[in-house]
């Protein structure tokens, strides 16, 4: 199953990549492959913007505008004029 996303939310700087393979390890959708001691985002259309790769890249080779792909969170954010936010920790029992 594939979804869609804006192309500018995910950036990869190959020059900074040391080929440690951390991004391959953390990505839940198999976006990266290691080729010639460098990570290559071969499936970037599968990226769900979770931000795991960027958070764990020690060399700053990756940036992701990360967030939860949840309509309720986006709508709540729109209504409150804030960033997307879900009520996961609230007492209402509603959660992403």
């Amino acid at each position: 199953m594939k979804y869609f996303r804006d192309s500018d939310t995910f950036q990869f700087n190959s020059e900074k990549c040391t080929g440690c393979g951390r991004c391959v390890e953390v990505c839940p959708h198999n976006v990266f492959k290691l080729e010639n001691r460098k990570a290559v985002p071969v499936n970037s259309d599968r990226c769900m913007e979770c931000g795991a790769c960027a958070k764990n890249c020690e060399f700053g080779a990756l940036t992701v505008k990360s967030g939860v792909g949840c309509a309720a969170a986006v709508i709540t954010g729109l209504l409150r004029g804030t960033e997307p936010t879900c009520d996961c920790s609230g007492p209402s029992g509603k959660c992403c």
């Binding site: 931000g51 958070k55 949840c70 959660c95």
Partner: protein, 389 residues
């Protein structure tokens, strides 16, 4: 030294040399008896491990029937918000100073999956305070995160229990955890384990290496099916408001509100509503890959319209009242189904924030326009019903 109120304005607080001086409770080491009395009623509790560094509660790797029932409840109601356990250090089997440390969230379903997967092993479990939320959601919010992990490592003093510096985290915790920062601040190196706890044995057998299959998040029909009760639960409360509104609309007569006639169009509206909820919250999730288009709003619209048309062709329930009523029902309920399906993005394993934002940007104006058009059609239908048209 006794605590004395200090009059000097430049030095409002006197130094404390003893905890007893400030009236705080003195630091007391926890004994096995304390742990037993705290956890003895917990279903997972099997005893206390007396490690050289201190006593630790030992957990069962069996899931009892009552726990399975609780798992089902947690999938269907707000019970899941209370389904948590105390953060801290736990023991599986009789762990030694060389045993692995597995980190998880303090949501019971996460914890239960982990302890079940550790059957037959000796290991430590470090439970983080994620406010009772599962690993992936908590990582997305940052509560299963770098700061909490560092704090929990320090609070439990886990380095006294083990001689190694390795932590195994669930892969889905990675969006919240900066492994480099954790290593710098605590000395612990993070290995990300498999996505699913059930693969842990295999992960260890392969030399602490998660292969492609273990790292990949799926979204099978079974995965989608277990989410349906919660989707319906969230709609349930709005359903009562809707039924009241539908009956009120049907009862509206030039002479006033007459409930004697309310059942004719009220019955159609309530049927439409049930069909729509089924289309948006049951059929769409179950048949997700088979409904065309990637957009959830479109998928939900398609399944909603299809379900309504099938109902109309087999019963004639909507056109029976008037063509205006039929059109209004078709527009309004197709859009409601679309909206319900759009809400399902929050439960999926693959939707992106920028994609959802784009869907909302395009669908919200359609929802608002559709709501107005259908409202006007409902009014026209009512006027024609009264014979003024």
């Amino acid at each position: 030294m006794k605590f004395e109120p200090v009059q000097n304005k430049l030095k409002p607080f006197s130094p404390l040399t003893c905890a007893a001086d400030c009236g705080c409770s003195p630091v007391k080491s926890i004994t096995s008896a304390d742990i037993t009395s705290e956890f003895k009623n917990e279903t997972w509790f099997t005893g206390v491990i007396d490690s050289p560094a201190g006593p630790v509660p030992q957990v069962s790797t069996e899931i009892k029937l009552s726990e399975r029932m609780a798992h089902i409840r947690s999938r269907a109601s707000s019970f899941r918000m209370k389904f948590s356990l105390k953060p801290g250090l736990y023991a599986v089997g009789s762990p030694a100073s060389t045993s692995d440390i597995f980190v998880t969230a303090n949501y019971r379903l996460s914890f239960d999956h982990l302890r079940k997967a550790l059957k037959g092993m000796n290991a430590w479990i470090l439970v983080l305070d994620t406010a009772g939320i599962n690993v992936w959601c908590a990582a997305g919010k940052g509560t299963f995160g770098t700061d909490e992990l560092i704090r929990r490592i320090k609070l439990t003093g886990i380095e006294k229990y083990v001689e190694h510096k390795r932590l195994i985290l669930p892969q889905l915790g990675a969006p919240g955890v900066n492994s480099g920062e954790v290593r710098e601040k605590t000395g612990f190196r993070i290995s990300y384990g498999p996505v699913r706890a059930e693969d842990i044995t295999q992960y260890i057998e392969k030399g602490y290496e998660a292969d492609e299959e273990m790292r990949l998040v799926k979204f099978t029909m079974k995965d989608r099916a277990v989410l349906i009760p919660m989707e319906i639960n969230m709609i349930k409360e709005k359903f009562l408001y809707f039924i009241s509104a539908a009956l009120l609309y049907s009862a509206l007569q030039p002479e006033g509100i007459i409930f004697k006639d309310a059942l004719t169009s009220g019955y159609s509206l309530i049927t439409a509503c049930i069909i729509t909820v089924a289309a948006g919250a049951v059929f769409t999730p179950l048949l997700l890959p088979f409904i065309p288009f990637r957009s959830f709003a479109i998928k939900g619209g398609i399944s909603g319209a299809a379900a309504l048309l099938v109902t109309e062709y087999s019963t004639g329930l909507f056109s029976l009242i008037s063509i205006y009523f039929y059109s209004a029902v078709l527009i309004l309920f197709t859009l409601i189904s679309s909206y319900i399906a759009l809400q399902f993005t929050g439960a999926t394993t693959y939707t992106s924030l920028s994609g959802v934002k784009r869907e909302i940007k395009y669908s919200l104006p359609v929802y608002i326009a559709g709501f107005f058009v259908s409202s006007i059609l409902f009014i026209i239908s009512k006027i024609s019903e009264w014979g003024y048209l």
